[in-house]
Amino acid sequence: MKIAVSSTAPGAEAQVSPIFGRCNCFVVVDTETQAVASLANPALGASGGAGIQSAQYIVQQGVQAVISGNVGPNAMQVLNAAGVDVYAATGGTVAEVVAALQAGQLEALTGPSVAKDFGKGGPMGGMGGGRGMGGGMGRGRGL
């Protein structure tokens, strides 16, 4: 099976990237041959539609699965349409998350994990935005 991991740098020892569309690099691991290929992300500098372009690029590599910290809605739609399975990994190296996937330890994503433009840099964008995880529900009751 060929697995693409969004990563911060080339190589199997690079960290998994928290973003997909604008990650620095995709490391493609072939679990049968153990071959590792590091591919520059062609959409890194796109002004818009980075998730779409990078997802299309990954599909063209013939991968069956993608591992990423997060995946946005447009990229998710492309990967779903192409029948590529998507898994979330919050941290670790490329080699570690591929091993975790093979051990069945990664959560499969069926929908986008972040909103559009989550990983987009620029004056107002970037990863500082957004929501806290988890709610305050269930707290403070029972008095």
């Binding site: 539609g49 739609q77 492309v78």
Partner: protein, 295 residues
């Protein structure tokens, strides 16, 4: 004659200035056939209608063209995705996906498709309303919620007004959107002069510089400045205008009454008639600036 009221920074008082200038112009035009027009080109949040309530006589839909792929004809060659400059198409081995919200409607995909599988179909993106009130012709562009591109709606607003002969001999005042990007350039294009509204703050100055770069340096328009909430600030805006030779055509003080009238939906010259001479002088000065530059 077409005058555009613009600004770099948002919330400096474009609509405050545009509505009162237009009402002053309307008073002057009484009796003549050619009514002045006020066009609200801030299509992402049009608000002129809150101050000058128009009787709407016409609504025109604004549409854009988006590609539709005929799956039966598509050979999945990927040419469409390759030529799309906005990554609005994903060409997959057995499917071609179109992300209409990213499409700029350039038509390259349909033109380049070797299988003739792509047609362009209109999709609603906004509307232009036209009407009349208080001796003014009023036009408003409104971008539909969820649509990303304001420029085509602004273009349509200008086009519809022009098509009805509003421009002709009469004065047209355009209330532009904030910023200095494409929508502002579309609002400014074809103007005879621009009035840039700012405030005496470092932020106001920073964005005024950018607006001057666009209106004067790039588009070559005669430019005047209006300083709103003019409590003096640090004096840097006035100093910049003096240094650049930009005439300050209007100054409005930082005054509670002005803010109260505005939040009550009243045009400034209606609520506080003592400001009428200020706007008459500003209109004269702006018209003079525009005429001076005429070939």
């Amino acid at each position: 004659m077409r005058l555009v009221i613009a600004s770099g920074k948002g919330g400096t008082g474009k609509t405050l200035v545009a509505t009162s200038l237009a009402l002053v112009a309307a008073e002057r035009a009484t009796g003549s056939d050619a009514l002045p027009a006020l066009l609200d080109a801030d299509v992402e949040a049009p608000n002129v209608a809150l101050f000058v309530r128009a009787e709407v006589s016409e609504t025109v839909a604004v549409e854009r063209l988006v590609p539709v792929v005929n799956a039966a004809l598509c050979t999945h060659c990927g040419r469409c995705a390759e030529v799309c400059q906005f990554n609005a198409i994903a060409a997959l081995p057995t499917q071609t996906l179109v992300f209409a919200e990213l499409c700029h409607g350039c038509g390259s995909c349909a033109l380049q498709c070797p299988a003739g599988a792509i047609t362009e179909e209109p999709q609603p993106m906004g509307r232009v309303t036209l009407g009349q009130a208080a001796g003014l012709r009023l036009g408003e562009g409104e971008l539909q919620v969820g649509e990303a591109m304001a420029t085509p709606v602004i273009r349509a607003l200008k086009h519809e007004a022009q098509r009805r002969g509003w421009d002709g001999e009469a004065l047209t005042i355009i209330d532009a959107p904030p910023g200095t990007a494409c929508p502002v350039i579309e609002a400014l294009r074809g103007a005879d002069a621009a009035l840039l509204v700012t405030e005496p703050t470092p932020f106001g100055l920073h964005d005024l510089r950018m607006a001057v770069e666009v209106a004067r340096d790039v588009l070559g328009l005669p430019v005047g400045v209006a300083i709103n909430r003019d409590d003096g600030g640090d004096g840097s805006v006035a100093a910049y205008c003096a240094q650049e030779g930009l005439p300050v055509l209007l100054r409005l003080p930082l005054e509670r009454e002005i803010a109260a009238a505005y939040s009550d939906g009243q045009p400034l010259v209606t609520a506080l008639p003592r400001y009428r001479p200020t706007f008459e002088a500003a209109l004269d000065a702006l018209l003079a600036l525009a005429e001076e530059a005429q070939p």
